[in-house]
């Protein structure tokens, strides 16, 4: 009981932090809006330039960071639980590269332009890459965390090369793509937000349905089956959730590394291994991580904006390094 109230406390503190992060994200940028002004504009929008910036740039951008952060963190959490591998991350395991390649193909070959068009390509690419990496990694015997990572690196390398090939051959695509590939939240607008939010909500529902089964599976496949879990159904649900969450997030902002690795790692340190609590906490911590990265990206180089994905990768890499520097890498 004490443990339970403690994790509720953690979630409450995290929620408070999230509110702060959202406010900071609404206020900071090339046009600084003081917090008081943000508040009054939110309550009573007027016709000023500031209101326009807030409504059409800051607000969709901030909400997008929230949605994408939640999606990637949950995707990473599910991946780690399903593969029992603490090193699993949608970026490392090739899912983002798969989504990226599919989107670029859609743009270059079929002239797809709107988010509602290329989100489907991203989902397809993410699903194929996830399955391929999983199959290759499982070939060496399950439960060896490093192998899936190597398989992911190899598959990512192939996909990234193909993506580069397509992009270098098509100048128009290159200019659009060099921002997308670094993971940018800039100028996405309400339309992108609506689309991604819809998919992330679907992914969250799938994750919540799979959660009890995942808890049992985390003890091992045999034990899970013994506890009456439909292993295949749980796995399929989990994989579907990962694909929808990571695919949609990648379609919106480009491939972003290590959010799915670092956030579940922090969440597990805070509330332990219960899947349902972890899902809730990741859905709050992911947005905080993403917002922090995005705010940093806006201020780190004065007068210029850096891609959010760049900051996220630089911030997440030390977590990954700390994990692999441990004496042994325990299977989850």
């Amino acid at each position: 009981m004490a443990e339970r109230s403690r994790s509720w406390l953690v979630v409450l503190v995290a929620l408070a932090l999230l509110v702060v992060a959202v406010l900071v994200s609404l206020s900071v940028g090339s046009n600084h809006l003081p917090l008081g002004r943000v508040w009054s504009l939110l309550l009573a929008p007027d016709d000023s330039l500031e209101a326009d910036i807030l409504r059409n740039e800051r607000l969709p951008r901030t909400l997008l960071a929230v949605v994408v952060g939640a999606g990637l963190a949950l995707g990473g959490l599910l991946m780690q639980t399903l593969t029992r591998n603490p090193l699993a991350d949608p970026g490392i395991l090739g899912v983002n590269a798969g989504a990226g390649f599919a989107v670029v193909l859609g743009v270059a070959l079929l002239g797809v332009v709107s988010i509602w068009g290329y989100v489907w390509f991203a989902l397809l690419g993410a699903a194929i890459a996830a399955v391929v990496v999983h199959l290759i990694g499982a070939m060496g015997g399950a439960g060896v965390p490093t192998r899936v990572v190597l398989a992911g690196v190899a598959v990512s390398a192939v996909l990234t090369s193909f993506t580069q090939g397509v992009v270098l051959a098509d100048r128009e695509a290159f200019n659009e793509f060099r921002f997308w590939v670094a993971g940018s939240l800039e100028g996405r607008g309400w339309q992108v937000l609506g689309c991604v939010a819809a998919f992330v909500v679907v992914g969250m529902v799938l994750a919540r349905i799979a959660a009890p089964g995942l808890d049992a599976l985390a003890l091992g496949e045999e034990t899970g089956r013994g506890l009456g879990v439909d292993v295949r159904r749980t796995r399929t649900l989990g994989m579907a959730a990962i694909t929808v969450l990571c695919g949609a997030a990648t379609a919106a902002v480009g491939p972003i590394l290590f959010v799915g690795l670092a956030v579940p790692f922090a969440a597990r340190a805070l509330v332990g291994h219960d899947q349902r609590r972890l899902i809730v906490l990741c859905a709050v911590l992911g947005p905080i991580w993403m917002l922090a990265a995005d705010v940093l990206a806006r201020v780190i180089v004065p007068g210029q904006e850096v891609q959010t994905g760049v900051v996220a990768a630089l911030a997440g890499a030390p977590v990954f390094l700390a994990l692999v520097r441990r004496r042994r890498i325990p299977a989850l």
Binding site: S161, F174, Q307, A317, F320, L321
Partner: protein
């Protein structure tokens, strides 16, 4: 001595009263590789937007061509590109073979442990921040590669030992952070600088001119001689540290020298043509399988690397003609697929 002369795996030559053993299969494979290189090089010299026949190509080299434009294309455009491909490939092959022997692991190659990305970061900083010419870019690549290799080794070592899998994972982590840094640099650049950098980053042999190729050839010759000087102790290291020590090899010194030469080879190749992915990983492994030896040999790896890069460049030029891919894109795709195969076959065996 008697079993030596009857061993069918070797040819034994009597050179100035000393018996020299030459591996039959190794020589055969070497001959075939050279034949393959000559064929692909011929194809490269003959093909292009400007039609030039075999007679014209030969005439161009002997300086008796009637068409000055044809002579120019053959000797100043196509030939340096072919030579650059061969030299870059040989350097990558040798470097990969050195790294794999020293780390005792096919995955201990410079591509996997983040070295290539580090060299790219160094070069990108030279292009975007310092706005430097070829010499500065080369220097940046070498410094970046050396720094990254040192960092990866330092982070991966635990009580002075380096577990291969940890080396690989740390390399992946550092590589990811550096890749982020690279895209940061790319985004901050102007569109023209960004496109130059992106071309370079993909690894390209396009627009290779003689001065650069000659510089590279000189570096390769020096480094190849240095490599051959430590070839014997290196082969002993491959059998095992104890065996090497028993034969009077200063293990630590040879290892350090080998890594330094390997890094220099890698950096030279990268500085010339940009990061060409996975050749350093694949060439030694392919040559090892071809020659049927337990350890990748230096010469065989160099020949295999040269052949791979030359062939990949041909593929890069022809696959989406009239447009052109960067050779690094082709080696990345093919080499990545090869890495998958390598991993699967390794895991299957265990």
């Amino acid at each position: 001595m008697s079993d030596l002369s009857t061993d069918r795996r070797f040819w034994v030559l009597d050179v100035a009263d000393r018996l020299v053993r030459l591996p039959r299969r190794g020589l055969l494979v070497g001959t075939l590789l050279i034949l393959g290189i000559v064929l692909v090089a011929g194809w490269a010299l003959l093909s292009g937007d400007y039609e030039i026949g075999i007679g014209q190509v030969l005439a161009a080299f002997s300086g008796t061509a009637d068409d000055p434009l044809a002579a120019y294309f053959v000797t100043e455009v196509r030939a340096p590109r072919v030579v650059a491909a061969l030299v870059v490939g040989a350097a990558l092959g040798m470097s990969g073979s050195i790294f794999q022997v020293v780390s005792g692991n096919p995955l201990g190659s410079p591509d996997i442990i983040g070295f290539t990305t580090g060299a790219a970061s160094g070069a990108l900083i030279s292009i975007v921040v310092l706005d430097g010419g070829p010499a500065v870019i080369a220097g940046g690549a070498i410094l970046g590669g050396l720094g990254t290799a040192a960092l990866v080794y330092a982070l991966a070592s635990h009580h002075r030992t380096v577990a291969p899998y940890r080396l690989v994972l740390v390399g992946i982590g550092i590589g990811a952070a550096l890749a982020a840094l690279n895209s940061l640099l790319l985004v901050r650049a102007s569109l023209t600088a960004a496109q130059t950098a992106a071309q370079w980053l993909a690894g390209s042999l396009n627009a290779m001119l003689w001065p650069r190729v000659e510089l590279m050839c000189g570096a390769l010759v020096v480094l190849a001689i240095a490599t051959l000087a430590i070839a014997r102790p290196l082969q002993m290291l491959a059998i095992g540290d104890d065996v090497a020590r028993g034969n009077g090899v200063d293990v630590q010194r040879v290892r350090l020298l080998a890594v330094l030469i390997g890094v220099a080879l890698m950096a030279t190749a990268t500085a010339t043509a940009g990061p060409i992915a996975f050749v350093a990983l694949a060439a030694p492994q392919i040559s090892r399988r071809l020659t049927g030896r337990a350890v990748p040999g230096l010469v065989a790896s160099a020949l295999t690397g040269a052949f791979l890069v030359l062939l990949s460049d041909r593929i890069a030029v022809t696959v989406i003609a009239p447009d052109e891919l960067a050779v690094g894109v082709v080696t990345g795709a093919v080499g990545g697929a090869y890495l998958v195969v390598l991993l699967v076959s390794q895991w299957r065996r265990k």
